[in-house]
């Protein structure tokens, strides 16, 4: 935009571009994005970053970090740094894979329920509430006890137990968008329901869907790590969860080999923290309440008033 005209101009924007703008519009979200990106890059370039087989026995067990083994060795005599870097591959794949599946189910079920109402909504809403009250982790534990553990199995199990949270939010948003004039116009002009849902309503809730997707990635990584730690995943795979399982299995903490534990646990926490930052950052930009809140803050700061009262009073200067 030129310097002479600084007024915001109404411009035709693609909903996708708009979503990316809100995704990266705040410093919090940017920080979160950088953190997550670092781990994604580590997963992609694992072979260059930590060459060698992470499952190989490399030396004496429980060696502390050194120049030879950057993060030491674990109780099974494996290189912790290799395990950390290579573990990001499957952990992130499971997280993002299950999140894609969860979001797909949530979008289809939530939007169809919110748009059609009546019997369709009653049935779908019942199903959503059902999945919300059935305890997720215990069901996951049972599923992994009965099914053969594997990456695909765990992705599907996570998706089945985790989609309903987003489904309910998307349903509520669809119900409120359905009352808008542009939807009424599409209905009157005789467009079929599914095309109204996915062509007209969907682009208007990209923010909510992206927010839900980010939450779903966190859920997927956290839950799969927990299951692997309990020994319910395929323990031959290298993920952050199985790294922690082997460290615990070898009694690493009891002999004080904290380096076998810290890297993988910290990696999960940092990814989850980064994703949470992205979500909070997005919320700051799209939530009118928080925008108003920021404006109040800046007024108070200018007036040098500490925020001590329920209703702050700014003295008027004459």
């Amino acid at each position: 935009m030129s310097n002479s005209d600084s007024r915001p101009r109404p411009a035709l924007k693609l909903p996708g571009a708009n979503a990316l703008g809100t995704l990266l519009g705040s410093p919090k979200a940017q920080l979160g994005f950088v953190i997550v990106l670092v781990f994604i890059l580590a997963a992609v370039f694992a072979a260059a970053l930590a060459p060698g087989d992470p499952k190989k026995y490399v030396g004496k067990p429980n060696q502390p970090p050194s120049a030879q083994f950057l993060l030491g060795t674990n109780p099974q005599g494996k290189d912790v740094f290799r395990q950390l870097v290579w573990g990001s591959r499957l952990s992130l794949l499971i997280g993002f894979g299950s999140a894609v599946l969860m979001t797909l189910i949530a979008v289809v079920v939530g939007m169809v329920a919110g748009f059609y109402r009546g019997v369709v909504d009653d049935v779908l809403n019942f199903v959503m509430n059902l999945f919300l009250v059935i305890p997720g982790l215990p069901l996951l534990v049972l599923l992994s006890a009965y099914l053969k553990p594997g990456t695909v199995t765990i992705i599907f199990a996570l998706a089945i137990t985790g989609w309903a949270f987003n489904g309910r939010i998307i349903r509520a948003q669809t119900m409120s968008l359905r009352e808008k004039d542009f939807v009424a116009a599409a209905v009157v002009s005789g467009e079929p329901g599914l095309s109204i849902i996915f062509v007209h309503i969907l682009p208007n809730m990209v923010n909510i869907i992206v927010g839900g997707f980010i939450g779903a990635v966190t859920y997927g990584i956290m839950a799969s790590t927990g299951l692997a730690f309990l020994g319910l995943a395929n323990t031959a795979d290298v993920t952050w969860g199985t790294n922690l399982f082997w460290a615990q299995n070898g009694g690493a903490l009891m002999i004080g080999a904290w380096w076998a534990f810290l890297p993988s646990g910290l990696a999960v926490a940092l990814v989850a923290f980064g994703l949470a930052l992205i979500n909070y950052g997005m919320d700051e930009i799209t939530n009118p309440r928080l925008i108003a809140e920021r404006n109040i803050q800046s007024v108070l700061r200018q007036a040098r008033l500490p925020r001590m009262r329920a209703t702050p009073v700014v003295p008027h200067e004459h």
Binding site: F126, V133, Y146, T225, A269, L270, A272, E293, P306, A310
Partner: protein, 325 residues
Amino acid sequence: MRYILRRLGFYLAALAVAITINFFLPRLLPGDPAAVILGTSAAKLTPENLRAVREALGLSDAPLIQQYGLYLAHLFRGDFGISYTYFPTPVTKVIANGFVWTLLLGSVSLVLSFALGNLIGIYGSWRRGGLVDTVFPPLLIFIGSFPAFFLALGLLYAFGVKLDWLPISHAYNNRLPQGFNLPFLLSVLEHMVLPATTSVLLGIGGWALGMRNVMVSVLADDYVTMAEAKGLKQIRIMFVYAARNALLPGVTGFGIALGAILSGQVLIETVFSYPGLGFLLINSVNGRDYPLMQGLFMMITIGILAANFLVDILYTWLDPRVRTG
């Protein structure tokens, strides 16, 4: 009243679905489920035991619908069969023992994180931009980003192993006589500190942030400005006017939080070998104790459904708008 009845109907339907899931899960096993389930521990079991377990799980050669009927009949008699790992204790008895500990640990941590979280939220919204408001939210989000078991292991290592201040496993001192005597109760309290702290650390952030954000919008309401204009004390406006109404959305979250606490508790109980339902569940999975596994899933689900129903009743009582809606 109609609202309550409708919710009751929903929970009964949910219960029916959970029962059905529980019935079909063993049938996901590759091959003949009965052979796998009974095969692992068959040596220990007498023929009567075998038959009892088969019937409790509804595993027989009869058509599926008859198996389902048999399974239902046993379920309503409260008969889940006999546990393999705690042989020959009936599953119901094993579960009853675990239930007490899970309920104790769960309710203590839920009440603590609810109270502390909401207080931080209220205080933060009161002094917006102050120390509490700038430091706590990111800190709590960061702590909440750790997997439950990892935080539990960290606390166990620091306070149980390195400093050796607190016991690292089990729920009470085995050498003390059980009952309502002071040494025993103190040992229960001592054993609860680490697991409860883990659970509170994980749960508190959600309550604090939720409360803060609702408070921010409630504080902008006219009746708060009115109260301020009347010259009421700040503390009265905060707690009696604003916080009371801001608590309402939190109560709805209570039901979901119960489920979340129980899920997190599975991992925490396992790390601390705390003998609750979660610890039993993992033990039963590792020991291929299918009757106990099935019974535990059923009990956990029933517990969560019942708790949610109680929250619904509480909500009707707190928010008159629901009663007519």
